[in-house]
């Protein structure tokens, strides 16, 4: 795994999702969700959701301002998981139609774009 895709020790099994799901801004994460297939969302959710609690406990043990690149990647991956959760667990087969509706709502600012 190249350095730019690596995650902290213990989260290696999520590294092959980094390429598709890691994005720097909320708007980009929303777009990744929209651009993905149901199978891709399901695979990411199935792998990452069981690790959410552990990932956040790991990240919360460190000062936010001092997260290193690997830790930031893990956090951004959990942000993307939050997007995918709505698709996989709430909208389910309605997600493609929902994606079209969401296009009307243009994201102009996000306080989470600082990481």
């Amino acid at each position: 795994m190249s350095a730019s895709l690596s995650l902290p020790a213990g989260f290696e099994r999520l590294e092959h999702f980094v390429g598709q799901w890691l994005a720097d801004t909320t708007a980009e994460r929303a777009q990744r969700r929209t651009d993905s297939t149901p199978e891709e969302r399901q695979a990411f959710f199935a792998a990452a959701a069981p690790m959410l609690e552990q990932a956040m406990a790991y990240l919360d043990a460190r000062p936010l301002a001092e997260l290193n690149d690997e830790e930031k990647r893990l956090l951004k991956l959990m942000f993307s998981l939050a997007h995918v959760q709505m698709a996989v667990e709430i909208h389910r087969e309605m997600e493609p139609r929902h994606a079209m509706l969401r296009e009307a709502m243009i994201i102009t600012h996000s306080v989470t774009d600082i990481i």
Binding site: L52, I90, H98, M105, H109
Partner: protein, 403 residues
């Protein structure tokens, strides 16, 4: 939530009875002549929410806001004295717009055309070859627009002669609540914006009735309705002059959340508690401020929603989720990401049906539309707007002017 808590839920039907029961003339929702009256009688003369003080953190911070319904561009700026002022973004020389940036920090506004230089207080400080003009610098100050704040929210009024102070317009109850709401302490926000082919009231009304929840938000809104309250109706309506509120039902059923959803929501609640934002009298309240502003009091999804008219049949919505303080941990940031995307997901679901309603209205097929008792907030907006339009029409007729 258990059945005991909710067994007594009864929709507050009596609280909207005073608004009457008549069908509502449909023209107010699509007719260009009626819109023009609303534009002049309401939007050009009423306090309008336009921003937040966190956008103007220091002396020289400014934001530019375009108000299409007025063809106006406004500069809102914090002066060296800390005071927030609003000006038309118009050079007093030959009307050139001064600023093209949407926000920034500056010591002066300098016109790109002939380098007229205005201070943060709007005064003309210098202009090349000014001695050749036939006016004074004092007469060339930027045109000021009334501006005031309440609960951190910035309001402007395009009526230069407006005499009613903002706080009097909002009334004691609303002022009290805005000052206690998290927005009063907010330091940042996330925002999404949408343009919609719908009259501003068609757009706004959708967001002040719960009757549609189970049909339009069958999944994202599922916690809001149960067998005890099948439509997820609010517990209470209150009316404060032209403004109105609803108090959400206390029986919202978060037990149906999935484990992942519960984890994501729990982080938001935890940080609201830690920051002292809960409990709060605004927790379950939803404020609809005349003419076009909403604020959801809940600190975990503390959103404002402003609906700007663009034309008789077009509007723009600006939705912001406000946050207090810098996030202190990864979980707090995750809660902000999730709170924001869930709000956007839910609001997205309304877009199609509002547009469909507008297309139906535009056909002219209906002379009237109907509001039920639990759509009383929509009826109230219609009533208040019509009363203001009628008073304006009578006043202009009395002066012999065309309305």
């Amino acid at each position: 939530m258990n059945a005991e808590t909710n067994a007594e839920f009864r929709p507050p039907l009596d609280q909207t009875r005073w608004l009457g029961t008549d069908p509502i003339p449909a023209k107010a929702y699509y007719d260009p002549d009626h819109y023009e009256l609303e534009r002049k009688a309401i939007f050009m003369r009423t306090w309008l929410q336009i921003g937040h003080v966190c956008e103007l953190p220091e002396a020289g911070s400014f934001i530019r806001r375009e108000l299409e319904f007025a063809e106006a561009s406004l500069l809102i700026v914090r002066g060296k004295d800390g005071i927030i002022r609003a000006f038309h973004n118009v050079c007093t020389h030959r009307a050139t717009q001064l600023v093209s940036e949407t926000e920034g920090r500056t010591n002066a506004f300098i016109c790109p055309y002939h380098m007229w230089n205005f201070g943060l207080d709007g005064q003309l400080r210098s202009a090349p070859d000014f001695e050749n003009f036939f006016t004074t610098k004092e007469d060339c100050a930027l045109k000021q627009v009334p501006v005031d704040t309440c609960g951190g929210l910035i309001f402007i009024n395009l009526d230069r002669g407006c005499t009613q102070p903002l706080r009097e317009f909002l009334g004691e109850h609303i002022v009290d609540r805005l000052e206690q709401a998290p927005v009063a302490k907010a330091t940042g926000f996330s925002e999404y914006v949408y343009d919609l082919d719908a009259n501003w009231k068609m757009d706004y009304d959708n967001f002040q009735e719960n009757y549609h929840l189970k049909f339009i938000h069958p999944r994202s809104g599922a916690p809001s309705y149960t067998t005890d309250n099948p439509f997820g109706y609010p517990e209470q309506f209150t009316f404060h002059g032209p403004h109105r509120t609803q108090v959400f039902w206390s029986g919202i059923n978060m037990d149906i959340a999935t484990p992942t959803q519960a984890l994501l929501f729990a982080a938001g609640v935890r940080y609201a508690m830690e920051k002292g934002l809960m409990p709060n009298p605004t927790n379950r309240e939803y404020y609809a401020l005349f003419p076009n502003f909403f604020l959801l009091g809940s600190p975990t999804q503390h959103f404002s929603h402003t609906v700007y008219p663009l034309s008789a049949r077009k509007s723009r919505g600006v939705v912001r989720l406000y946050w207090v303080g810098e996030a202190q941990s990864a979980s707090e940031l995750l809660a902000r990401e999730y709170g924001f995307l869930v709000a956007r997901d839910i609001h997205s679901e309304d877009v199609d049906v509002i547009r469909a309603g507008q297309r139906g209205l535009n056909s002219g097929a209906l002379e009237h539309i109907h509001f039920q008792a639990m759509e009383g907030l929509c009826r109230h907006l219609n009533k208040v707007s019509n009363e203001i339009v009628e008073a304006y029409r009578e006043a202009t007729a009395a002066k012999g002017e065309p309305a």
